[in-house]
Amino acid sequence: MESRSFYNEILTEHNMRPYYKHELEDADLVLEGVNPNCGDDIIIKLKMDGDTITDGAFVGEGCAISQASADIMLGLVIGRKKDEALKLADIFMRMIKGEADEEEIESLEEATALKDISHMPARVKCAVLGWHTLDELFKDRLFA
């Protein structure tokens, strides 16, 4: 029963009481991410000052993994520069694939709570939805 403890306190807490799940007026960047096969659907919104993320939020519907993952992600990237955020996204994706080293994983702070998802192939898409959307958000746009 390996995944009995998968829903650890960090995940359930971020799922039940997400800090960043709310509307964000005057967001500079908005992108919707969808998992068509399970219906998870979140919209990531960011406020930027130059290339620094000054605020962020998400809205939408989904399972505990997608919700908690997005909430944890926003907590990590707000206050950071775009390139730092993208680097974290890259480490997160590699952690899920089981390809990141210990030091890198540590830099993900609370997001390490999702490390074991690498053993649950059916749920990987839920965990990366927010991060993938963030990645697309920056890739799609050019700004100062």
Partner: protein
């Protein structure tokens, strides 16, 4: 396979007939997606390839004759199982989805025209909606939905209102794959005939639980998949009335479905081969015949009684759990082994993850029935589906696992 003569099934014996239960201690509650297979089905497929493998219908040597016999005998077994003595009314397909597409492309494209109406129930699986959407779009026909009430029932009045002289075809599921309720197909069929239309009945979720007689119900087309009724994957059935099938053009063209081919023309084979282009799934048909043999020997009435008993146990258990809501009827007799439910504030994927950690296999999501869920105002649900080979212990483990879901997800109760 000797059964005791008691009213009830010998569950230990039945469990022993299914090899997969010897290799897993998990509770398999996803039989509506695909059933497990008894040893006799696996053996029938295996022995076809070991002892009778040759291409059917075309060889004059003994092995091909034998392969053909097995294939055609399987057709007769299916025919008598659903109550027709004309085995040419049985077309083998890959699955119910292919059967429905065959009807749509062949019958639909020929007989449905601009302004005609196609009626489908809101409770259909996507496979009994999309072919009709396609016909409606390409022929300029109107696709009308017959809506159910919140408990999954259809009122006589709504059925009567939906079917009119404009109706050319009605596609209706016998049992919904989400709600499990048996629909009043006999009433629908008789109204459809009064309107001069044809009725397509999807029996994918009923054929393994209850007896269906195509002559008594007077249905025009009936479809089902082998793999949901203990048979192998990759073999399905289309039943059609001979007089209708005879007039329909082929669906797929190619080998084994022709009488002769010239440079610019061809004459097609007679029923049923007109609709079975290319090398057929003879081993799959042999497996399906073995599955039917198993169901008949076990007794569909006993199977039905067992399904009902287990369904009652599960639904009564779920009803006692706070924050759990069963979709469809409150009455377990209206569920036929299919129990979809929601847990407040917990996404079905998380419900199924928690259940899976407890060794219980269920399905989560929209169950290929998005229009129905939208109509019922449910985003998605978890589904447990039961078959006669499940045990009381499995049902109890399922219920107690569901009872723990919210706490495991961090909620107070």
């Amino acid at each position: 396979m000797i059964r005791n003569d008691n009213e009830k099934l010998n569950i230990d014996k039945i469990r022993n007939d299914f090899p997969i239960f010897k290799t897993t201690g998990r509770a398999y509650l996803d039989s509506a997606a695909t059933s497990q297979k008894p040893e006799c089905v696996i053996k029938a497929e295996e022995s076809f390839y070991k002892e009778s493998n040759a291409n059917t219908l075309r060889g004059f040597y003994p092995l091909s004759v034998k392969a053909t016999e097995i294939y055609e005998d399987a057709r007769k077994t299916v025919a008598s199982f659903i109550g027709t003595d004309k085995s040419e009314e049985i077309i083998f397909t890959r699955n119910a989805t292919e059967s429905l597409n065959l009807i749509a492309y062949s019958y639909g494209m020929t007989n449905i025209n601009e302004g005609d109406e196609i009626v489908v129930s809101i409770a259909e699986h996507h496979s009994n909606i999309l072919p009709w959407q396609m016909i409606a779009q390409s022929k300029g026909a109107v696709l009308k939905y017959l809506e159910c009430k919140q408990d999954g029932s259809f009122s006589d009045e709504d059925i009567e209102k939906a079917i009119s002289e404009k109706t050319k075809l009605v596609a209706f599921t016998h049992v919904s794959n989400v709600l499990g309720r048996i629909n009043p197909i006999e009433k629908v069929i008789s109204l459809v005939h009064k309107a001069g239309a044809v009725a397509v009945i999807d029996a994918s979720q009923s054929i393994q639980h209850t007896k269906i007689d195509v002559k008594k119900t007077n249905v025009d087309f009936l479809v089902f998949s082998g793999h949901k009724m203990l048979g192998p994957m990759g073999i399905g059935v289309l039943y059609g009335k001979k007089e209708i099938l005879d007039k329909m053009p082929p669906f797929l063209t190619g080998g084994e479905m022709i009488e002769s081919v010239r440079r610019d023309s061809a004459t097609y084979a007679k029923l049923p081969h007109k609709f079975e282009a290319g090398t057929v799934n003879a081993a799959g048909a042999a497996g399906l015949a073995a599955a039917i043999g198993y169901l008949e020997e076990t007794g569909l009435d006993k199977i039905h009684a067992r399904d009902r008993e287990l369904t009652q146990r599960a639904i009564e258990g779920l009803k006692k759990i706070k924050h759990v809501h069963v979709l469809g009827s409150d009455d377990y007799r209206e569920h036929n082994g299919i129990i979809s439910f929601t847990v407040d504030d917990v996404h079905p994927h998380d419900v199924s993850e928690v259940l899976s950690a407890d060794g219980i296999d269920v399905r989560a999501g929209h169950h290929c029935a998005q229009p129905l869920l939208e109509h019922l105002k449910v985003r998605n649900a978890t589904r447990a589906s039961i078959m006669f080979y499940n045990t009381e212990d499995e049902i109890d483990r399922f219920v107690s696992s569901v009872a723990n879901v919210r706490v495991r997800m961090g909620f107070a109760d």
